[in-house]
C-alpha cells in the first residue's frame, strides 16, 4: 500500500456510477495515489480534454474536475443546462458522442436523474458520476476519505455521524457507502421528516440522537440544508433547524477533542453550522476542496491509464 509507485496500479474501471463500483482495495489504492498527488508528485500526462456535462448547477465540482484534468494535461470542454443541446432534445448519449468527437477522452456527468450512468451504453470513453439526483456523488466521498487520511486518521473502526437531510442527499448516500466499505460505523441524525423511519436501516447505518452522536463520533459530516426543503414543508423554519439540528458553537463543545468535521460545501452559515465550526481546528472543510481535486485526478488518471 505504501511505496513510491508512479503508476496508479491496476484500478480497472471504466465508469464510476457509484461508490460500490469500486472494491475496498481499489478505494485504498486511489487514496494512496490521491495522497501522492496532493503531496506534489507528478501525474501521468494524457492528450485530449475532460468534458464536464452538468445538467444541474455547480461551481465547485465542475471547477474541481477541470483543475484535476489540468493536472493530467487535459483541456476542458463543458456543457451546461443553459443553451445546451439537451434543450433541443439531444440525449445525454448523443451529447457524450459529440464531446468525444470534439476531443474529450473522459467525462464527468451531473444529472438530476438518478442512476443515468448505470444504464447508459458505452460511449467510447470513461464516465464519472458527478452527482445524480439524490443518489450518489462518489467523488465527493473520495475527497472526504482523503481529507480524513491526510489528517492522519484511520477510517476502519471509526464512528461517522452524518447530520441533516439524509433523505435528499447524494453526499450522505455515497459517503455512507464509502465509509462503511472501509470499515467505519455510520450513524445518521436529523429531523424525522428528512431521516424517516427505515432510512438508516436501508443504508446499513444506524439512527442516533444528535447529541449522543456528537459526543461519541470520530468524524462528523454536516450536510448542506437546501432552502427547497422549507418550501416543500419538511421544516417550519431555518431558525428551528439550527436550534434543533445545527452544529452550533454550543454543540461544537460536545465533540471530542480529536473529532473531525466535514461539510461538502457550500455552507449555510448560521443554519446547519455556525461560523465558529468552519474555523475550528477540528474542521477539515477547507482541506476537502483540495482533496477533491487530488482524488478526481487520481481517479481519472487510473481510468485513462486503464484504457
Amino acid at each position: 500500500m505504501q511505496g513510491r509507485v508512479k503508476s496508479p496500479g491496476p484500478v480497472r474501471l471504466d465508469r464510476l456510477a457509484q461508490i460500490r463500483d469500486l472494491s475496498a482495495e481499489e478505494l485504498e489504492r486511489l487514496l494512496v495515489r490521491g495522497q501522492e498527488l496532493s503531496e506534489g508528485q507528478p501525474a501521468l500526462q494524457f492528450r485530449g480534454a475532460v468534458a464536464t456535462v452538468f445538467y444541474e448547477n455547480s461551481t465547485r465540482t465542475r471547477n474541481s474536475f477541470q483543475q484535476a484534468g489540468r493536472l493530467l494535461g487535459l483541456d476542458t470542454l463543458q456543457v451546461g443546462r443553459e443553451g445546451s443541446s439537451i434543450q433541443k432534445g439531444e440525449t445525454l448519449e448523443d451529447t457524450l458522442h459529440t464531446l468525444r468527437a470534439l476531443g474529450a477522452v473522459i467525462a464527468a456527468v451531473r444529472t438530476p436523474e438518478p442512476g443515468v450512468l448505470l444504464d447508459l451504453p458505452d460511449v467510447g470513453m470513461p464516465l464519472v458520476n458527478a452527482g445524480d439526483g439524490w443518489r450518489q456523488h462518489p467523488t465527493q466521498a473520495l475527497a472526504d476519505l482523503l481529507a480524513v487520511r491526510l489528517a492522519g486518521r484511520a477510517v476502519a473502526g471509526a464512528r461517522v455521524l452524518i447530520v441533516g437531510d439524509i433523505l435528499h442527499s447524494r453526499v450522505a448516500r455515497s459517503g455512507n457507502d464509502a465509509f462503511a466499505m472501509l470499515g467505519a460505523k455510520v450513524w445518521l441524525a436529523g429531523p424525522p421528516t428528512l431521516v424517516p423511519q427505515g432510512l438508516a436501516a436501508s443504508l446499513g447505518a444506524e439512527q442516533v440522537a444528535l447529541e449522543d452522536g456528537l459526543r461519541a463520533a470520530d468524524i462528523v459530516m454536516v450536510l448542506r440544508l437546501q432552502q427547497e426543503r422549507m418550501e416543500r414543508g419538511y421544516l417550519p423554519s431555518l431558525g428551528e433547524y439550527r436550534r434543533e439540528w445545527g452544529l452550533t458553537a454550543e454543540r461544537l463543545a460536545l465533540l471530542r477533542s480529536d473529532a473531525l468535521v466535514l461539510h461538502p460545501g457550500p455552507q449555510n452559515r448560521g443554519v446547519e453550522l455556525d461560523e465558529e465550526v468552519i474555523y475550528d481546528p477540528r474542521s477539515l472543510i477547507h482541506r476537502q476542496i483540495a482533496c477533491g481535486v487530488a482524488m478526481r485526478a487520481a481517479l481519472m488518471e487510473a481510468m485513462l491509464d486503464a484504457r
Partner: protein, 423 residues
C-alpha cells in the same frame, strides 16, 4: 355454421366442470358436450388443451385515440387475443378523454368486427379533471359499462361522493384509482427501504390506503357500487375485508405484476418496473396473493399500459408509469402461482372469467349446452420466453421480459368461430 372442438380439457369452475370431452358449436351456441359427437364444417383438434370460459380483462389502456404510437385498438386487441382474452374493458384516459357519448360510440365502432370484444369504461368526470361529473345516463346508453377517472386519483372527496350517489340511478359501477395525489407527490416508486437506498422519490403506502378508507366511508355514507382498481398494499386488503364484512358493495382487482414482483425489481430493471401504483414489498405481495386466493379480491386485471421504448429510456424520474400485461397475464400467473402451489387453477380461472364479468355486469359465460360460446384455449405444456419478438403489442414495456413461462393461449372461440393464435 357448425364447429367441433376435439380432445379438450373443459374447465369451468362456475359450472363445476373439469373433464375431457369434445364440444360441438352450432351458430355460436354450445350444442353438445360429450364424446363421439358429429363433425361440423370445421374441426379443431385441441390435443388436450385447457378450454375455459373466455378470459376478461377489465382494465386495459389501448391508447386510441391520441397516442397510437404506443398502441391502438387493433394492436391492443391482437395482444388481447394472443393472451387468450375474449373481452377487454378499455379505460377512458385517452387523448381526448372518453367523456362524451359521441366519442365513446366512435371508439367502440373502431373495435367492431374484431374477434376480441372491447367494452368501454367512460370518464367519471369531464376531462378526468376531477370536478364535474360526466353524463352517466347518455354515456351508458352509448355503451359505457362503468365510470372511472383511472390514471388519476379523485382528489376531491365531494366529487367522489357525488359520483357514487349519481351512479345509483342506473346501478352503475364506479372504478376508483385509489391515489391521494398530494401524498403520492412526485414519487416514482414505493417509498421504503429500496427507494431510500436508490435515492428515488417514493409514494407512501398511505397514498393508496387513505383513499380506499375514504371511499369506503363514502360508500357507507351514501351507498353505491365501488370497484377498487389495481390494489397494491396490505392495508388496502385489510380495508376491503372490513368493507365486505360490513356489507358494503365493494369489489377489487389485482394486477399480475403486483402479484409477482416487488419494489426490488426497480433496482434490477429500472423503468420497466415503474408503474402506478408502484410495486410494493414482499409483505404486500403476499397479502395480495392471500386476498386473491380467498376471493376477497374478485378479479385479475392487467392494467396493460403500453409505452414506447424511448419513453421508457428516459430514466426513473421522467419515464412514464406502466407496463404491458395482456400477453403474459395467464401464462405468468399459471407458471409462478399455480404451478408453485400458491393459487389453485380454479381461482386463477375464476378471477379471470366469472369474477370480472359479474362485477362489470357482462353476460356470464359458462361452458354448458345451450350457452353462447365464448371460450379460451391454452396449451399448458407450451414453454416460451417473453421477448420483443413474441409480442403483438406495439410496445414492449413488459416487466417480465426474458422470463420463460409455461402455458400459452392457442386460440379463442367468439362469434361462433375458432380464432387460432399464430406463433
Amino acid at each position: 355454421m357448425r364447429v367441433d372442438l376435439r380432445n379438450a380439457r373443459i374447465f369451468d369452475p362456475a359450472s363445476g366442470i373439469d373433464q375431457s370431452a369434445d364440444v360441438l358449436l352450432e351458430n355460436g351456441v354450445i350444442a353438445a358436450i360429450g364424446h363421439g359427437l358429429p363433425h361440423g364444417q370445421e374441426t379443431v383438434d385441441l390435443a388436450g388443451a385447457l378450454v375455459t370460459p373466455g378470459l376478461c380483462d377489465v382494465h386495459v389502456h389501448l391508447r386510441e385515440p391520441g397516442q397510437t404510437q404506443k398502441e391502438d385498438i387493433d394492436s391492443g386487441l391482437r395482444a388481447a387475443l394472443a393472451g387468450g382474452f375474449t373481452d377487454v374493458c378499455a379505460m377512458p384516459n385517452t387523448k381526448p378523454t372518453v367523456d362524451e357519448p359521441w366519442l365513446l360510440r366512435q371508439v367502440l365502432a373502431r373495435a367492431a368486427g374484431h374477434p376480441v370484444r372491447m367494452h368501454q369504461i367512460a370518464a367519471m368526470t369531464r376531462g378526468q379533471a376531477g370536478n364535474e361529473l360526466t353524463e352517466f345516463g347518455a354515456l351508458r346508453e352509448a355503451g359505457a359499462i362503468a365510470f372511472s377517472d383511472d390514471g388519476h386519483g379523485v382528489a376531491r372527496s365531494t366529487v367522489m361522493r357525488l359520483g357514487l350517489q349519481y351512479a345509483q340511478a342506473w346501478g352503475a359501477l364506479i372504478v376508483s384509482h385509489a391515489e391521494d395525489p398530494d401524498l403520492a407527490g412526485n414519487g416514482v416508486m414505493h417509498e421504503g427501504e429500496v427507494s431510500f437506498r436508490l435515492g428515488l422519490p417514493g409514494q407512501p403506502r398511505s397514498a393508496e390506503s387513505a383513499i380506499v378508507a375514504r371511499d369506503l366511508e363514502l360508500l357507507r355514507d351514501v351507498g353505491g357500487r365501488l370497484h377498487v382498481a389495481h390494489v397494491s398494499t396490505k392495508e388496502t386488503v385489510a380495508l376491503l375485508a372490513q368493507g365486505r364484512a360490513d356489507g358494503l358493495s365493494v369489489s377489487a382487482e389485482v394486477t399480475p405484476h403486483h402479484l409477482l414482483l416487488t419494489d426490488e425489481a426497480v433496482a434490477e430493471m429500472g423503468t420497466l418496473a415503474k408503474m402506478n401504483p408502484p410495486l410494493r414489498t414482499p409483505q404486500d405481495r403476499d397479502a395480495l396473493r392471500a386476498g386473491l386466493a380467498s376471493g376477497l379480491i374478485d378479479c385479475i386485471a392487467t392494467d396493460h399500459a403500453p409505452h414506447r421504448e424511448q419513453e421508457k429510456r428516459q430514466g426513473m424520474l421522467a419515464a412514464p408509469f406502466g407496463v404491458i400485461g395482456l400477453e403474459t397475464a395467464f401464462s405468468s400467473l399459471y407458471t409462478e402461482l399455480v404451478l408453485t402451489g400458491c393459487l389453485s387453477l380454479e381461482r386463477l380461472v375464476t378471477a379471470m372469467t366469472a369474477g370480472p364479468r359479474r362485477i362489470f355486469g357482462l353476460n356470464p359465460v359458462g361452458i354448458r349446452e345451450g350457452e353462447t360460446a365464448r371460450l379460451s384455449a391454452f396449451d399448458l405444456s407450451a414453454l416460451w420466453t417473453v421477448g420483443s419478438g413474441t409480442l403483438q403489442s406495439k410496445s414492449t414495456n413488459s416487466a417480465l421480459l426474458g422470463r420463460t413461462l409455461r402455458g400459452k393461449a392457442i386460440g379463442i372461440i367468439t362469434e361462433g368461430r375458432w380464432h387460432p393464435i399464430g406463433h
